[in-house]
């Protein structure tokens, strides 16, 4: 079992953090100068030399994610990502770990709703080795049934560890699942045990054939390398991989707009109830994403944020409160969550969350808050872009999810121009009553007081009474 399984599963969600960010008027923002090249077989290569440290980051972005899971195979894209660390034509199982960790580097991968990304950071003199290795696993897998089944068991353990074991793991799972009615985003990336059990070795071969092809891949290389040498290595190892003549399947389903509030109550092994609100927001590439990101920071970044100050510090209704402008390629969510303090009622917490939403709609945020939010977002972005791996992530995201690698630079400027009026406008436009899903996640113990009525509202009412 690879030692970095844990990291792999935690990375599923990190793409939400990679939103583009902006520019402060008083700070000169670094421009990432990159080269954009496409091989005859369709492989796109984005590269940016940076000789500040003798390391190099190599990433391969496959434009396939959990939204592309085959029918009745939810979780398959993520399972497949694990299989990519098993044997290939020329590499033994887990050889990628040896090629990186044993020379002072590291490697990992993550699966999100829209993409699957494999990455390595190694001392720069090992660049050719890793180009060879990535080309090798794009060329073909060589996985047997025993290998497949053992890795499938690993992924099932991850499901248990990330969804079932943490007290609020299933809460987050349900928030996504209940928030989409039509779009395959309604199947969270980790999938389900039944669907994973149904997957077979044949599915692995079909999935590789369908999606792992040079014209569905973007190679990103950032760090200490010579461009001519990189081009020669890419031509040598990736060039001969043929482009299939089949069409690439793409998700066509559109998530319908919401027309009325939806309320859901679920039960778990949490000690304290949790409340979640989600609002359907546009795709990540939409210009409104920047103002929503700023709204998220004003609501939730740090102890001086509005939600922490109101719900945790002042009213002491919640142990934790947060917001998240989750972004996805086709449709996004603006999420507010709170875990209740001992003895508090979910409806009071919901009311307080809604009061903060209303506050944001009725008055513009203050200049101080706006600047603080931008400072926080931009500093995070700059920190991410200090490393070669971080720069490569930003570049890959702009190219694959935003459709234009140049947005790695322009989006920084756009975020800088977000005004208090923009924040108010997007709050009014998207955080509406009709566009809301409300999820109450209550302790299983609260359900036991009910005598079997399947009616959720009734259950909830009884749970509330029991809590008094």
């Amino acid at each position: 079992m690879p030692r970095n399984n844990l990291v792999r599963v935690t990375l599923i969600a990190t793409l939400f953090l990679l939103l583009p960010s902006g520019l402060m008027s008083q700070t000169r923002m670094p421009q990432l100068r990159f080269t954009d090249r496409t091989l005859p077989n369709g492989l796109r290569i984005l590269s940016a030399p940076d000789h500040s440290s003798p390391t190099v980051a190599i990433q391969v972005w496959y434009h396939v994610g959990s939204k592309d899971d085959p029918q009745n195979r939810s979780g398959f894209a993520h399972l497949f990502e694990h299989i990519m660390f098993k044997s290939t034509k020329n590499m033994k199982s887990e050889m990628m770990d040896r090629l990186t960790e044993d020379v002072g580097g590291f490697n990992n991968a993550f699966t999100a709703d829209d993409v699957t990304v494999y990455f390595e950071v190694v001392p720069s003199n090992y660049l050719e080795t890793l180009i060879w290795a990535e080309a090798d696993r794009l060329s073909g897998l060589n996985v047997d049934d025993a290998n497949f089944k053992s890795e499938r068991d690993v992924v099932k353990e991850e499901y248990r560890q990330s969804v079932l074991a943490p007290p609020y793991g299933r809460f987050e799972y349900l928030l996504q699942q209940k928030s989409f009615l039509q779009h395959p985003y309604k199947r969270p990336t980790i999938g389900s045990i039944e669907d994973l059990d149904a997957a077979s070795l044949k599915d692995v071969q079909d999935f590789h054939t369908t999606y792992y092809r040079p014209d569905n891949a973007t190679l990103v290389v950032v760090g200490d390398f010579e461009p001519k040498q990189l081009d020669a290595w890419v031509d040598k190892y990736f060039g001969p991989i043929p482009r299939p003549d089949r069409a690439l399947p793409r998700v066509q389903i559109k998530e319908p707009a919401r027309s009325a509030e939806t309320r859901v109550t679920e039960y778990g092994h949490n000690d304290l109830p949790a409340v979640g609100l989600t609002y359907l927001t546009p795709r990540q590439a939409d210009p409104d994403s920047d103002a929503l990101r700023v709204a998220d920071a004003i609501l939730s970044a740090g102890e001086s944020s509005r939600l922490y100050h109101a719900l945790v510090y002042e009213q002491q209704l919640a142990a934790e409160a947060g917001a998240n402008a989750e972004s996805r390629e086709d449709a996004s969510l603006f999420v507010l969550t709170a875990v209740l303090s001992e003895g508090k009622k979910p409806e009071d917490v919901e009311r307080s969350l809604l009061a903060e939403v209303k506050k944001m709609q009725e008055a513009p945020v203050s200049a101080t808050e706006l600047e603080k939010a931008k400072n926080q977002i931009i500093t995070d972005q700059l920190r991410q872009r200090e490393t070669s791996n971080g720069k490569a992530l930003a570049l890959g995201e702009a190219a694959v999810l935003l459709g234009d690698p140049a947005r790695v630079n322009t989006d920084l400027e756009r975020l800088q121009r977000v005004t208090a009026a923009d924040v108010q406008r997007v709050a009014k436009k998207y955080l509406t009553d009709a566009n809301r899903l409300v999820l109450y996640y209550l302790p299983e113990a609260a359900k036991k007081v009910n005598n079997g009525s399947p009616d959720g509202d009734d259950l909830l009412e009884r749970a509330r009474r029991a809590g008094k």
């Binding site: 030692r3 402060m24 700070t27 000169r28 670094p30 000789h51 500040s52 440290s53 003798p54 390391t55 020329n90 770990d97 040896r98 090629l99 960790e101 044993d102 020379v103 002072g104 950071v121 001392p123 720069s124 003199n125 090992y126 050719e128 060879w132 290795a133 060329s139 073909g140 897998l141 060589n142 071969q205 590789h208 054939t209 200490d224 040498q229 020669a232 290595w233 031509d235 040598k236 190892y237 060039g239 001969p240 991989i241 043929p242 740090g302 102890e303 001086s304 603080k372 931008k374 400072n375 926080q376 977002i377 931009i378 500093t379 995070d380 700059l382 920190r383 200090e386 490393t387 070669s388």
Partner: protein, 496 residues
């Protein structure tokens, strides 16, 4: 898959033609696809060169300009840490440093947090062996206000009682957690066994008894004695000009008065008055699910001429593909992972090799640890084994220097130990030149396993009989009688 494979096979010819263009001849003799291409020679880069000035009050200011990202990190280091904890007050230096950000004469803890958040930055403080520090990181445009906050917390902390109590409780909670774990107990015990009652022997995070004793006055006194400009170094790195950095240092730290008293002499072990080597200590913890096994002995100090031989020798043992893990995990499945550390400090620090294993295997793993240290001398690494072990060191070093924080920490550490700051530009070369013979010599002269101590924390009855057959001098201490406040490691009878 079959289809892909056959297509791939056809393209082999093409690839071999290409191979002549870019690959040396001897490599192209075999198919370039079948095995990974070998590494090129390591590339060298020039890291920025630090510049420095000393202010009139004795504060040493070091600046490293790096303009590629508009971020700045500033670290104020006090040249003493846990080693100056009074013998009865382990944890004092660490608590003192931690409390810096919890209130000053002009801001309470919440206001400090809010001020830093408004800048979009971060502020951390803490102590370790040989140093205490406070660090801010912000966008370069915000470095002025950030330096004001840094100076405020370093110079004017108030050590308010409620914050002291809050932190004391946190430390006690963490310690309670640690003292339930065989690995943490073994680490604490190993320090006492190697250093006895000398500095470096106690836990920097305190003991339950010492944490209970530390008073607000002790904290204020520690701050008054050691937090002074002539016992401090300010390192500023990132996207700003050195003249601006020196001006900021002067503005916020220039009027920091140097006391008339002499700088306190570092309490570190001027000479190692360590306990006699060769102890075999068992802490009997009958409910332990696993045994933690430590081999520990004195190592070298940071300025030792053998430093680079030492870190390469340690790298041969340490890491996933290092020798300890090869023998203990990969070959025998006795542990999830085995590791070694060569911790170099102002004075001689410890060398330790360790692994956790099932209780029954405790004695066997102790033998394997000793065996692997000895094998460094009897069977030094081949070139093929040594090259990747050196690459691990170089890779970690280089990745660390990618960030401004990493760069500042590295330079701070060199400054703290009085080393040439431009060593960052020689590190890679220094590691490269170490040979197998160097590793062998270092292991033979500096890591002799015969001078090492063995510590095992676990369910003693499972491994004691076997351990007794290998060692004659086994000391067994029930965990309930363990006292980390003394080299004897046992509570005195009358205090029970």
């Amino acid at each position: 898959m079959n289809k892909m494979t056959s297509v791939f096979g056809r393209s082999l010819l093409l690839l071999e033609l290409c191979a002549f263009l870019v690959v040396p001849l001897e490599v192209s003799a075999q198919s370039p696809q079948a095995t990974p291409p070998p590494p090129a020679p390591p590339r060298s880069v020039e890291f920025p060169k630090p510049v420095e000035q000393t202010l009139a009050n004795g504060l040493r200011v070091i600046v490293i300009e790096r303009s590629d990202t508009p971020l700045v990190s500033a670290q104020l280091i006090i040249k003493n840490g846990g080693e100056v904890d009074p013998p009865e007050l382990p944890g004092l230096a660490d608590m003192t440093a931690n409390l810096l950000t919890k209130g000053t004469q002009s801001r309470d803890a919440t206001q400090i947090a809010e001020a830093v958040e408004a800048l979009g930055g971060s502020l951390d403080s803490g102590a370790r062996w040989d140093a205490s520090n406070a660090t801010v990181g912000v966008m370069s445009a915000k470095i002025g206000p950030a330096m004001e906050i840094l100076a405020d917390v370093v110079r004017r902390p108030t050590f308010k009682s409620e914050e002291v109590e809050r932190l004391r409780q946190q430390y006690l909670d963490n310690l309670t957690l640690a003292l339930g774990q065989p690995g943490a107990i073994a680490r604490f015990v190993a320090a006492r066994v190697v250093f006895g009652d000398a500095p470096y022997g106690h836990p920097t995070s305190g003991t339950p008894a010492s944490l209970a004793r530390i008073s607000r006055e002790d904290l204020a006194k520690m701050h008054e004695r050691f937090y002074r400009p002539d016992n401090a170094i300010l390192v500023i790195g990132g996207d700003l000009k050195s003249k601006d950095a020196f001006a900021l240092a002067t503005r916020y730290f220039g009027d920091w008065q140097k006391p008339m008293t002499a700088i306190p002499v570092s309490g570190a072990a001027a000479s190692i008055v360590a306990g006699k080597p060769g102890r075999v200590v068992v802490i009997d913890k009958p409910d332990a699910g696993q045994a933690a096994v430590y081999l520990a002995r004195i190592g070298i100090n940071r300025k030792d001429a053998d430093y680079f031989r030492g870190i390469v020798a340690n790298s041969v043992l340490n890491g996933y593909s290092g020798r300890l893990n090869q023998e203990i995990r990969i070959k025998r499945g006795l542990s999830y992972g085995a590791a070694s550390t060569l911790d170099t400090r102002r004075d001689v620090g410890p060398f330790a090799a360790s692994a956790q294993t099932k209780n029954q295997s405790g004695a066997q793993v102790a033998d394997l640890l000793i065996g692997e240290i000895e094998r460094l001398t009897s069977s030094p690494p081949s070139e093929a084994e040594l090259t990747p072990r050196k690459a691990v060191l170089i890779g970690n070093f280089s990745r660390n220097l990618e960030t401004v924080n990493g760069l500042v920490s590295q330079v701070s550490s060199l400054a703290l130990y009085g080393l040439d700051l431009n060593e960052i530009n020689r590190y890679i070369q220094n590691v490269q030149t170490i040979s197998s013979a160097d590793v062998q010599k270092f292991a033979g002269t500096r890591l002799d396993a015969k001078g090492a101590n063995i510590i095992i924390v676990g369910n003693a009855k499972e491994f004691l009989p076997e351990l007794g057959r290998h060692f004659q001098n086994v000391e067994v201490i029930p965990v309930a009688e363990l006292d980390l406040n003394t080299a004897l490691l046992r509570k005195k009878k009358q205090s029970e």
